[in-house]
């Protein structure tokens, strides 16, 4: 009796043993132990006890892993699932409608979540992303009364901060650039970065080729992207090759970087040591002047800790550096590296980012769809619930408490949601490639990369998202249905203790229709805009033109003459900028004789053949002659420029002198030239339709021509390109010819807009579809409730039409209220975007009533079909119902 068995093993036994068995077996063990102590002594008894305990550790004795007390809930849960499944299968139509609506809206919302998560991943490859800050300049523009944030800050910040702020451990400076580079007389366009030598380490990029530590050390070394390398050198090894950059000189390729490996806010084809920029005498004023420099340099600092407090307080003390006249208008702020993308809109951004409002827009779009679908679930669950009143009653009589009934309905909602989640997930696999193929994403590096391993948390968030939707859509039906009183249900009455909140369900339907109205009106107006694009006459010939870049290896005049010998070539000309397809430079013009000053105008250069070749109509004066030396001081203007200069009659403006002030792109110095107007052309659209084509000046400058336009006749563009290429090869056999048909280029721009129309259209269609399905469920429910009433009314002699009106009045009313309230909102939303677009379609009564008409026809149609069915039913059957 005095000796105790080993405590640890006794406790272990108590822990693992099934609670039902623990007492008798422990009794047996203790009895045996006591006997053994007497017989064999304590030590041996202990050992035997331990052996017994260990041998008891087996399947039949161990308690179930989830604990005995949970066994009952598990059984309940299994039962809930089983009943839910049976109910879903019994009500195939409702289930299909719900799963369809939820699948559609969830797939689209998941796509949006994926997109946002993916964008949020920018610069996450950098382990220091949370410690790197960029300095922003916030400028209060008094003239326009706007406060704007710029991603740039003055040059000196990069020198001052590391000295004065203790918590800074490293810094990097970048400058954006673009231009032309030459390799063996081959010209390439590039966009690049000037960067501090520690660029690769600072932003955590690895090189494919070259030495990461020293790639930017040499003053004349540079790093190129892999894409650029393939473009310039093909499969050849680019290391050590020499590249000549316009205005900067020769550089040696010292590294190749594979940009596709990183998602980053920086975009570049090449990286050049920043010394090439700051040591250039031409840029001296940018380096020294805080005001000018504030829009040029990107300054990044790596801090020792995650707090930027010290940096912030130092930046606020830099006020003294700003010239007195601008004091108080300049402010410096910080922005963390991983918060650059999906942050607020920053001007002068170094690369392409998605601002946060785009994410919000998409988020709202998804939310609207998902809400609409879960409203449907709520409506239908309540509608179905009346049929299930008896089930609830029986459950309650058999001892279920309200909590358990609520659990039953919540499980049912969750089941529908998870089936939809599964379907949506498969749909997503189809949607992602389509989404990635969108042209509008091309420019923002928006393609989603799906990776099942690293996106683990994305999928977890999908599931969390599904659970939330399940609770949102299931909780009200569960509360309502569980409130049925078993006594009245079983007596045979309708069973609802309270009336099913009809108002709430009307509000749900109201929202669905309000969303639909907004979507459909927006879609109609967007569609009209797309039609404007398709039908606009640009005022110049572009259907039979092939555009070929003008290269130094091809002598233009001889090339032109050779081409014109071919019978299929109708004309050849050259321009500096392609109307519609490229950006035009802006200048200001002043005409002293009419005292009009600083008129904003676009300018580009042409040769003597452009006006005829592109079919631009001359309304006064003469074209350039083919002898450049006489034409240097001459310009041709369009009608808008003539108007702006204050002339009505084209003849009056001829031979007038204009001063053209332009700002040199590279030196930023203003210079003024005097030119004489020799001709006026009819206005044509040189901008894409939704931007206004204003005053235009065409000058004669053979040096700046970049693109050759070849007009073909009677053959397809492809055949034309082959003919041009055969001539090209006579001049330059080393390089293949790049070409694009003018028509293709124009359609490509149009395609981006059509995509937007299609996206809004499809989302709108789904929203309307879901709303109609919701309407359908409401009607079915309502008619079911009134079956007997209809029968009695019919027996008493009520006519079909009065019955129909009586039944559908309530629904029509909700739809009308939705239309009346949502239409002004739709108009406001559409005014918001059309007012920023030139050539936008009118928000006419016709457009709005077309949208409302479609909604009305769909909604009233749905109501009519089901109400008329119920009304036509034989009253005898209706009266026997229930």
């Amino acid at each position: 009796m005095n000796s105790q068995p080993p405590k640890f093993f006794l406790r272990f036994f108590r822990w693992f043993c099934h609670p039902r068995l623990v007492k008798p077996i422990e009794g047996d063990l203790l009895e045996l132990y006591d006997e053994r102590v007497l017989e064999l002594g304590k030590r041996k008894a202990d050992l035997k006890f331990i052996k017994d305990v260990l041998l008891l550790f087996r399947k039949d004795i161990i308690k179930p892993s989830d604990g005995t007390h949970r066994i009952n809930t598990y059984g309940m849960f299994k039962n809930h699932l089983k009943i839910s499944f049976r109910n879903l299968i019994k009500q195939k139509g409702f289930t299909a409608i719900n799963v369809f609506g939820l699948t559609m809206s969830m797939a689209i919302t998941m796509l949006i979540i994926l997109f946002i998560f993916d964008q949020d991943r920018q610069d996450e490859h950098n382990p220091n992303a949370a410690k790197i800050y960029r300095v922003l300049t916030v400028i209060n523009d008094v003239d326009e009364d706007k406060i704007r944030s710029y991603g740039t800050s003055p040059f000196e910040i990069n020198q001052l901060v590391p000295f004065n702020v203790e918590s800074v451990s490293a810094s990097a400076q970048l400058v954006k650039t673009s231009g032309l580079l030459t390799i063996d007389e081959n010209e390439f366009q590039f966009s690049g970065l000037f960067a501090s030598p520690n660029f690769l380490n600072f932003f955590h990029f690895d090189l494919e080729q070259g030495n990461k530590m020293s790639a930017l050390d040499g003053e004349n070394s540079l790093i190129i992207s892999k894409e650029m390398s393939i473009k310039m050198f093909g499969e050849n090894d680019p290391l050590g090759e020499i590249i000549t950059i316009e205005r900067l000189g020769d550089f040696i390729v010292s590294g190749v970087i594979d940009k596709r490996k990183y998602k980053t806010h920086l975009t570049y084809d090449l990286v050049i040591p920043i010394s090439a920029f700051s040591n250039n005498a031409e840029n001296e004023y940018l380096v020294s002047d805080w005001e000018e420099g504030a829009k040029v340099f990107y300054n990044y600092f790596h801090l020792k800790g995650e707090s930027d407090q010290m940096l912030k307080s130092y930046l606020s003390s830099l006020d003294i550096k700003i010239p007195d006249a601008k004091k108080g208008l300049y402010r410096f702020e910080t922005q963390r590296l991983d918060q650059i993308n999906l942050g607020s809109l920053i001007r002068n951004e170094i690369g392409t980012t998605t601002p946060n409002f785009v994410a919000y827009f998409f988020g709202v779009l998804g939310l609207v769809l998902i809400l609409s679908a879960s409203f449907n679930y709520m409506n239908m669950a309540i509608a179905r619930g009346l049929k299930r009143a008896r089930e609830v009653g029986v459950r309650k009589v058999l001892g279920a408490n309200r909590k358990q009934v609520i659990a039953q309905f919540l499980v049912e909602a969750q089941l529908v949601i998870f089936i939809s989640l599964l379907c949506a997930f498969f749909l997503l696999q189809v949607l992602v490639p389509i989404f990635n193929g969108l042209k509008i994403l091309r420019d923002i590096d928006g393609a989603i990369t799906m990776n099942f391993n690293s996106d683990f948390y994305v999928y977890i968030s999908f599931i969390a998202f599904a659970i939330i939707i399940g609770i949102v859509s299931g909780v009200y039906p569960a509360l309502y249905l569980s409130s049925f009183r078993s006594l009245s249900v079983l007596k045979g009455s309708n069973g609802s203790g309270r009336s099913p909140s009809f108002l709430l369900r009307k509000v749900l339907v109201f929202f669905q229709y309000a969303f639909s109205v907004i979507f459909i009106i927006t879609t109609i107006i967007l569609y009209q805009q797309a039609k404007v694009f398709d039908t606009t006459d640009y005022g110049f010939e572009h259907s039979n033109i092939i555009n070929v870049p003008k290269k130094k290896s091809i002598p233009y005049e001889t090339f032109r003459n050779e081409l014109l010998k071919k019978p299929q070539v109708a004309g050849v000309s050259a321009v500096s900028n392609l109307p519609v397809l490229s950006f035009f430079e802006d200048v200001e013009i002043t005409n002293r004789s009419s005292e009009r000053e600083n008129i904003k105008a676009s300018i580009f250069s042409i040769d003597a053949y452009v006006i005829e070749n592109l079919g631009i109509e001359m309304i006064a004066g003469k074209n350039f002659s083919s002898r450049p030396q006489y034409e240097v001081d001459h310009i041709i203007i369009n009608e808008k420029a003539m108007d702006a200069m204050g002339y009505q009659n084209p003849m009056d403006v001829l031979n007038k002198t204009v001063e053209i002030q332009s700002i040199d792109k590279n030196t930023r110095e203003a210079n003024t030239e005097k030119k004489k107007v020799i001709g006026v052309v009819r206005d044509f659209n040189y901008q894409f339709v939704f931007i206004e084509s204003g005053a235009l000046i065409m000058q004669y400058d053979p040096e700046s021509l970049t693109t050759i336009n070849i007009k073909i006749a009677g053959i397809s563009p492809k055949q034309g390109a082959e003919i041009v290429e055969s001539v090209w090869n006579e001049f330059d056999n080393n390089h293949t010819m790049d070409y694009e048909t003018y028509q293709y280029g124009m359609e490509d721009i149009n395609a981006e807009f059509s995509e937007l129309v299609n996206i809004v259209g499809i989302v709108g269609f789904i929203a309307i579809l879901i709303a109609c399905l919701g309407q359908f469920s409401m009607v079915v429910h309502h008619v079911e409730l009134k079956t007997k009433e209809i029968g009695i009314r019919k027996v008493l002699g009520s006519g079909l039409s009065s019955l129909m009106v009586g039944l559908s009045k309530g629904f029509i009313w909700v739809i009308l209220v939705a239309i009346i309230l949502a239409t002004p909102l739709a108009v406001l939303i559409n005014i918001a975007w059309t007012s920023r677009v030139y050539n936008a379609p009118e928000i006419s009564v016709y457009n709005i009533s077309l949208g409302i008409g479609i909604i009305l026809i769909l909604a009233v149609g749905t109501i009519y079909i089901f109400v008329s069915k119920a009304v036509r039913a034989n009253p005898v059957d209706s009266l026997k119902y229930e």
């Binding site: 077996i25 009794g27 039949d60 004795i61």
Partner: protein, 117 residues
């Protein structure tokens, strides 16, 4: 057809429970088997067999006697149910019928030796 399933050890336990009649609980069953068959029985093996037999409804159990010597732990007594009795009967009969079916010659050791040679 396998109507009743009873393993070898399970059968021994059943028989012992039957022998002990009113006094069949963990320790007594264990001691009885050890004494009669001279083989060691661990508490684990015994309890596991009792569990299985209870699940098959061959045994019924009830707790009584919270005695001082067992530190207040009750003894769990086992009794054979009528289903358990049928199972034992069945097992015995199948054994017997098999025994009966053996031709007398096959167990004659002399003949067996002759065949092997």
């Amino acid at each position: 057809m396998k109507k009743f399933q009873l393993g070898e050890f399970e059968e021994i336990v059943m028989l012992t429970v039957a022998i002990l009649y009113d006094d069949a609980y963990g320790v007594s069953i264990k001691k009885e088997i050890e004494n009669r068959l001279g083989r060691n029985v661990s508490v684990g093996a015994l309890q596991s067999a009792l569990r299985r037999l209870e699940d098959k409804d061959y045994l019924a159990s009830h707790d009584k006697d919270a005695t001082q010597e067992r530190a207040g732990r009750p003894k769990r007594y086992y009794k054979i149910t009528s289903l358990g009795k049928q199972a034992m009967q069945y097992t015995k009969e199948t054994r017997n019928s098999l025994w009966d079916a053996i031709p007398s010659v096959s167990l004659d050791v002399k003949f067996a030796k002759l065949f092997n040679a």
